[in-house]
C-alpha cells in the first residue's frame, strides 16, 4: 500500500502528552496520523462522527506522558482501561501483523497490558515484567546513546544497521526493565536468543555495559527497548520523536553534519516501510 494511506492511531487519554511530536513524526513522512482519545474507541460520550475502531488503523502508537498521572503505577490505569474494553480488538490487531509501538510511558503501558515482552503469546493475563524506579531515585531527563543490537526481527528498527549508535534522549522516573527474578536468567537469555532486544544503552565507544549516566536507570544488560516475538510490537524508554530533526540533538551545534535528519527519524520510517510492504 502507499504510505499516505497508512492510518496511524495516536492513542491518548488524560495525561498523555508526547502525542503532538509523535503525530508530527508520522505526518512529516507522509503517513496519515490521527489523534484518537481512548473514549472514541470505547464509544463513550462521543458522537457517531467521533467514534473510531482499531480496525481502521495500521499502526497503533502509545505516546509518552503520564497517563492518568501514573498515580498507581506508570501506565497501569491506561492499560486497565484498554484491557477492560478493547483487549479483543487489540489482540486481533497484533495477530493481523499490524504495528504497535510505545515510547516511555507508552512502553510502560504496553508492559502493563502484557503485550510486551509477550513471552508466551500475544497478550499475557498479568504483566510479565515491570519498569521500575530509576536507580538514581530521580526523574532523569538526559541524552542517552543507544546501540541497535536487533538482528532484524523488530519491524520498527529494521532499517537501522546492526551495531549503529544513536543519540536519543530519555525522560523518565521509572525505566528500569525488570523480569521476574526467579527465572530472570532464562528470560533474559530468551530475549537475546529470540532477537527481542532492540536497543541497549552504551557509551561513546559502544560499550553496552556502560554505567550511569550512560545507563540512566540501571536497567539490566542496559536494555532500553524490546520487541515481541513477531517483531511488530515494540517499546522503548527513550524518545525517538524528540530527535526527528538534527537541531533538537543535545549537541547539534558541536558537529554540524549538514543533514537535517535526526537519529530518531529512522524508527518511524522503518515501521512505515514495513506496512507499505506488508499490506
Amino acid at each position: 500500500m502507499k504510505v499516505e494511506d497508512i492510518r496511524v492511531c495516536i492513542l491518548r487519554m488524560e495525561g498523555t502528552n508526547c502525542e503532538q511530536e509523535t503525530f508530527d513524526a508520522f505526518k512529516r513522512l507522509g503517513a496519515s496520523p490521527e489523534f484518537v482519545h481512548l473514549k472514541q474507541l470505547e464509544g463513550r460520550d462521543v458522537g457517531a462522527d467521533e467514534a473510531r475502531s482499531l480496525d481502521d488503523y495500521h499502526i497503533l502508537m502509545f505516546p509518552g506522558g503520564f497517563s492518568a498521572g501514573d498515580y498507581i503505577r506508570a501506565g497501569a490505569i491506561f492499560a486497565a482501561r484498554i484491557k477492560a474494553s478493547l483487549s479483543g480488538d487489540l489482540r486481533k490487531f497484533i495477530e493481523d501483523g499490524k504495528a504497535v509501538g510505545g515510547f516511555c510511558n507508552g512502553f510502560q503501558i504496553m508492559v502493563e497490558l502484557g503485550i510486551l515482552p509477550g513471552m508466551d503469546g500475544t497478550m499475557s493475563e498479568h504483566p510479565e515484567a515491570v519498569l521500575h524506579s530509576n536507580d538514581s531515585g530521580f526523574f532523569e531527563c538526559r541524552p542517552t546513546l543507544l546501540k541497535h543490537t536487533n538482528r532484524g526481527r523488530c519491524v520498527w528498527t529494521r532499517d537501522i544497521p546492526i551495531g549503529s549508535i544513536r543519540l536519543i534522549p530519555c525522560a523518565h522516573a521509572e525505566g528500569k526493565l525488570i523480569l521476574p527474578l526467579e527465572e530472570a536468567d532464562a528470560l533474559y537469555g530468551r530475549l537475546f536468543d529470540e532477537d527481542r532486544v532492540v536497543f541497549q544503552y552504551c557509551d561513546g565507544s559502544g560499550e553496552t555495559n556502560a554505567e550511569y549516566p550512560y545507563n540512566p536507570n540501571g536497567s539490566r544488560f542496559n536494555i532500553a527497548g524490546i520487541c515481541s516475538e513477531r517483531g511488530n510490537v515494540f517499546g522503548m524508554m527513550p524518545h525517538p520523536e524528540r530527535v526527528f530533526y538534527r537541531h533538537t540533538h543535545a549537541d547539534w551545534y558541536r558537529n554540524k553534519v549538514g543533514s537535517e535528519e535526526g537519529d530518531g527519524q529512522v524508527v518511524f520510517r522503518s515501521v512505515l516501510n514495513y506496512i507499505v510492504e506488508t499490506f
Binding site: R142, E241, H247, T248
Partner: protein
C-alpha cells in the same frame, strides 16, 4: 472587645450573615475586618460603609469577603501601581499586542503571537512547598491558555535560604530551607512534567535573606495564531457563563489576603488552608478542551480562576465587556459538602476556567468538555446592568455595583530610597598569590549560586514537545556546561526561534536596588544576545517587602526606575508582570528581588550559538569594560570582603555590544559566546572549558581600566570583577580580522585574551602565571557542588 453582636444570621436558605456596618464605630469596623480576616484597613472599611449606606442596607458577609479579596494588594496593586505608572507602565511599543491582561501577547511573526506571563507563589510555598510551587505552575499555565495560546515553556526562578543553615538560625514556625527547597523542586517537577510542558529555564538562588520567606516565581510562554487570541472579557449580554475544570473546595480561601500580609510564626498553622492543591491530570485535559473550543470559535471570552476566585473573575470578565453578571452559587460543583456561600465565592481552588459562550454554542462547548472528562457547569449569565449578583436557590445573597467593587484603592505611599555609598572601589586586602587565586576560583566554581544545577534541572523534562533547540546545559552531552538561554522553535513550518532567560542578582540588589536591577536587565540582554537572539519583550516579577514601610517601597521605586530606563533605551516593552509585596517574616524583608524574564527572537534557530568551547587553536576575545566595582560580587562574598560599589551600567555600550555580537552571529563568525556574570571572567572561562571539554591559555594583562594614578588593575579584580556588558567570544583564526573589524566598527572595547588549547585553564598576566587548573578539576568542583552541599547539610 466582642463584636459578635454585629453579625446576624439572615435566615435565608443558605447560611449568610448580615454584618451591621451601619453606624458601626471605627473600632468596631477594625474588629470586623480582623474577625473576618479580610485585611481591609479602616479607611477602606469606611468606603465600604459609605457605599452600603447609599444602598440603604447592611452588607452581607459574602460581600465583605468579596471586597477584602478584590481590594487586596495582590488583586489591585494598590501600593505599587502609582510607582510603576510613574516609571514604565502605559508605554506602547509596536510588537506588544496586548499588555493589559494576566499574560502579555506579543507579535512573533505575521500570523503568530507569543504569550508570556510570570507570577509569584511565595507565601504558599513557604508553608506548603510542594503544593505551593505546583499550583504556581498551574496558575501561570492557565494565564497563558486563557489567552488562547498553547503553552510551550515553563520557567522557574527560585530563591531559598542557605541549605546548610543551622537549626538554631531557624526561628519557631519557619521551615528549614532544605525542606522548602526539596518540596518546591518536587512540586514543579511533578506538576510541570505531568502536564507535558517543558521546563526550559529558571534559576536556583541561595541567600540568607530568604530563610524566613522563600520566593517561588513561575513563568510560562505560549504560542498562538493571532486569529485565535481571545480576551478575558464577555462579548455582551445574554452570554452564558460556563465554569469548567476542578471542583471548588476550602483550599485557597483567603489566599490573596494571606499573600498581602507578612508571614508570621503562626502562619504554618493559621494559613495552611490558603494553600491551594493542584491536580495536573485535571489541568492537562483543560488545556486541550479549552484550546479546542477556542479554535473552533465557540468562545467569546475566557479567564482562569486564580487569586480572587469566582468572585473576581465573574465580575472582571463582565465589566471589561461593559456588562454585569448573575451567578447561581448553588450550582458550583463542590469538593466537600457544607461550604458557606462566601467560601464558595472567594475560594481559590485550582484547575478552574470560566468561559463566556453564546447560547447557541453552549451544547457544543459542553460536549467538548465532556469528551475530555472535564466537569463543566452552566453557572450564570451576562446582564446589561453593571452589577455582579449571586443567587442561592433564587434568593439574592450578593449584589454590588461593579464599578465600586473593582475600583480598588490606589495609594501613593511614602518611599525612602536607601543611601548607597560609591566611595570604595575595592576592599583593601592583600594581593592574592597564584595558590590563593586558584583556591578562590575553585571555591567559586562550587559556590551554591554558581555550581551546576543539573541535580535540579535533570528532574524537569526540558524536551517534551520536541521543540527545545538550545537546552539548559550545552556542550558534551555527558559533561555539559551551563547555557546562557534556552532556545525554542515554536512552529512546525518556520525556523524562527524564541529565546528565554530569567535573571536577578539578589546580592547586588540588597546593596543597591537601582544598580542591582540595571545589572539584572543587562544580564538578561547578555544572555539572549549570547545565543544569538535579539531582546524583544520583558516580563517582571517584583518581589519586595512590606510596602507600608517607606524603605521597602523605596527599594521598589528604585527597581522600577531602572526598569523604565533600560526598557526605554533598548525599546523593550514590559508586556506583563507581577508584584509580590509583604515578603517579610520575623527575620525581616527578603533582599529586593526584581526577577526579570526576557524573551528574544532569532530568524533561524540553526544560527544559535552556545557557551561551550569548540576547537583547539581558536582565538578568545573579551568584549566590554572591566571596572573596579566589586560590590555584590561572588568573589568578595567568598572572602568576606566588603564593598558597596555595585556594577553600574553604560547603556550605550549595552546597545553597541549587542549589535556587534548579533552582527557577528548572523554572519556565522562565532564558534562560541558566553556572557560574564557571577564570578566574572575566570568563572566564565572555566564554564566554557567545562562545556567544551578542552583548555584555554589566556593573558589578562590588557584586562581592566587603569586607576587614577595610571596603576594597573589588581589581578583578582581582573579575574573576578562582575562589571556589566561583557562577553567572551571564540573565533576561528581565519575570521579574526573580520571579527576585530566588526567589534571596532561598533566602538566596543575588546581584548584578545588567548587561545583554545590543551586540557587546563591557564591564565597569566604577562609572564606571571596566575591560574593553571586542569579542566576535569574545574568540572568536578562545578558539577558536584550542589550534591556536596545537599549531603553536607543532612
Amino acid at each position: 472587645m466582642s463584636i459578635s453582636h454585629l453579625f446576624e444570621e439572615m435566615g435565608l436558605s443558605a447560611p449568610v450573615m448580615r454584618v451591621k456596618l451601619m453606624g458601626a464605630s471605627d473600632q468596631e469596623m477594625e474588629g470586623i475586618s480582623r474577625e473576618m480576616s479580610i485585611g481591609l484597613s479602616l479607611d477602606e472599611m469606611k468606603r465600604v460603609q459609605e457605599y452600603f449606606a447609599k444602598e440603604g442596607r447592611d452588607p452581607r458577609d459574602i460581600e465583605l469577603e468579596a471586597l477584602g479579596q478584590a481590594w487586596s494588594e495582590h488583586c489591585c496593586y494598590k501600593s505599587s501601581k502609582y510607582i510603576m505608572k510613574q516609571y514604565f507602565m502605559n508605554r506602547s511599543f509596536p510588537q506588544a499586542l496586548i499588555t493589559s491582561e494576566d499574560a502579555g501577547v506579543v507579535e512573533f511573526d505575521d500570523d503568530h503571537a507569543y504569550v508570556v506571563g510570570l507570577e509569584s507563589h511565595n507565601h504558599p510555598s513557604a508553608i506548603g512547598p510542594y503544593g505551593g510551587s505546583a499550583t504556581g505552575v498551574g496558575g501561570i499555565i492557565r494565564d497563558v491558555v486563557c489567552m488562547g495560546a498553547q503553552p510551550i515553556a515553563v520557567i522557574d526562578p527560585l530563591f531559598f535560604g542557605l541549605l546548610d543553615a543551622g537549626e538554631e538560625d531557624i526561628p519557631e514556625g519557619i521551615n528549614h530551607p532544605k525542606y522548602i527547597f526539596s518540596g518546591v523542586v518536587a512540586g514543579i517537577r511533578d506538576y510541570g512534567n505531568r502536564i507535558g510542558i517543558p521546563t526550559v529555564a529558571g534559576s536556583v538562588n541561595f541567600h540568607r535573606g530568604y530563610t524566613g520567606n522563600p520566593l517561588v516565581n513561575v513563568g510560562a510562554v505560549g504560542i498562538a495564531k493571532k486569529k485565535h487570541i481571545i480576551r478575558s472579557r464577555v462579548g455582551g449580554p445574554g452570554e452564558i457563563y460556563i465554569l469548567a475544570g476542578g471542583r471548588t473546595g476550602r483550599d485557597g480561601i483567603h489566599g490573596v489576603t494571606f499573600a498581602s500580609a507578612d508571614l508570621s510564626s503562626d502562619s504554618e498553622e493559621k494559613d495552611r488552608g490558603s494553600v491551594q492543591l493542584g491536580d495536573p491530570i485535571v489541568k492537562e485535559p483543560i488545556i486541550h478542551s479549552c484550546l479546542e473550543a477556542n479554535e473552533r470559535g465557540l468562545l467569546r471570552g475566557m479567564k482562569d480562576l486564580g487569586g480572587g476566585g469566582l468572585s473576581c473573575v465573574s465580575g472582571e470578565m463582565a465589566l471589561d465587556g461593559g456588562c454585569g453578571a448573575i451567578i447561581h452559587l448553588d450550582r458550583i460543583p463542590l469538593k466537600e459538602e457544607g461550604l458557606k456561600p462566601w467560601e464558595i465565592w472567594v475560594s481559590e481552588s485550582q484547575e478552574r476556567m470560566m468561559v463566556s459562550v453564546l447560547p447557541r454554542d453552549v451544547d457544543a462547548v459542553m460536549h467538548i468538555f465532556k469528551k475530555w472528562d472535564v466537569e463543566a457547569v452552566i453557572i450564570g449569565e451576562v446582564i446589561p446592568e453593571k452589577h455582579v449578583k449571586a443567587l442561592w436557590e433564587g434568593e439574592e445573597i450578593l449584589n454590588m455595583d461593579l464599578d465600586f467593587f473593582t475600583a480598588g484603592p490606589e495609594y501613593c505611599r511614602l518611599t525612602v530610597p536607601r543611601e548607597v555609598s560609591r566611595e570604595i572601589l575595592e576592599a583593601d586586602i592583600p594581593l592574592p598569590d597564584r595558590g590563593e587565586l586558584e583556591a578562590s576560583l575553585l571555591v567559586l566554581m562550587e559556590d551554591p549560586n554558581i555550581c551546576s544545577r543539573e541535580l535540579v534541572f535533570r528532574t524537569y523534562d526540558h524536551e517534551v514537545r520536541a521543540r527545545t533547540v538550545v537546552k539548559p546545559y550545552v556542550g558534551d552531552p555527558f559533561s555539559p556546561g551551563p547555557s546562557d538561554a534556552a532556545v525554542l522553535k515554536p512552529l512546525e513550518d518556520s525556523w524562527k526561534g524564541l529565546a528565554i532567560t530569567t535573571d536577578v542578582n539578589p546580592g547586588m540588589c540588597e546593596i543597591d536596588p537601582y544598580r542591582g536591577t540595571l545589572s539584572a536587565l543587562d544580564e538578561s540582554i547578555r544572555n539572549l544576545v549570547s545565543v544569538g537572539a535579539r531582546p524583544h519583550s520583558l516580563t517582571d516579577c517584583l518581589n519586595f517587602g512590606n510596602p507600608e514601610k517607606p524603605d521597602r517601597l523605596g527599594d521598589f521605586a528604585m527597581a522600577c526606575k531602572a526598569i523604565g530606563e533600560v526598557t526605554d533605551h533598548a525599546s523593550i516593552p514590559v508586556v506583563s508582570g507581577n508584584v509580590s509585596l509583604y515578603n517579610e517574616s520575623e527575620l525581616g524583608a527578603v533582599p529586593p528581588t526584581p526577577t526579570m524574564m526576557m524573551i528574544g527572537l532569532m530568524d533561524d534557530v540553526r544560527k544559535a550559538t552556545t557557551s561551550d568551547l569548540k576547537k583547539s587553536g581558536n582565538i578568545i576575545y573579551l568584549l566590554g569594560r572591566t571596572r573596579r566595582e566589586m560590590g555584590g560580587s561572588a568573589y568578595y562574598r567568598s572572602i568576606d570582603a566588603g564593598c558597596d560599589r555595585v556594577p553600574d551600567l553604560d547603556k550605550q555600550l549595552m546597545m553597541d555590544s549587542m549589535e556587534a555580537v548579533l552582527e557577528m552571529n548572523s554572519e556565522g563568525l562565532l564558534a562560541s559566546v558566553h556572557d560574564l556574570s557571577e564570578g566574572g571572567l575566570a568563572v566564565a572561562l572555566a564554564e566554557m572549558c567545562i562545556g567544551g571539554g578542552i583548555g584555554l591559555d589566556v593573558n589578562v594583562r590588557e584586562v581592566g581600566s587603569l586607576d587614577g594614578n595610571g596603576e594597573e588593575m589588581r589581578v583578582d579584580t581582573k579575574l573576578f570583577s562582575e562589571s556589566n556588558t561583557r562577553y567572551v567570544i571564540e573565533v576561528e583564526p581565519r575570521e579574526a580580522l573580520r571579527v576585530e573589524d566588526c567589534i571596532s566598527r561598533h566602538e566596543v572595547p575588546y581584548t584578545k585574551l588567548g587561545t583554545v588549547l590543551g586540557d587546563s585553564l591557564r591564565m597569566t598576566r604577562g609572564e606571571d602565571l596566575l591560574v593553571d587548573i586542569p579542566v576535569n578539576v574545574l568540572d568536578h568542583a562545578w558539577r558536584g557542588g550542589m550534591k556536596r552541599l545537599l549531603e553536607g547539610s543532612q
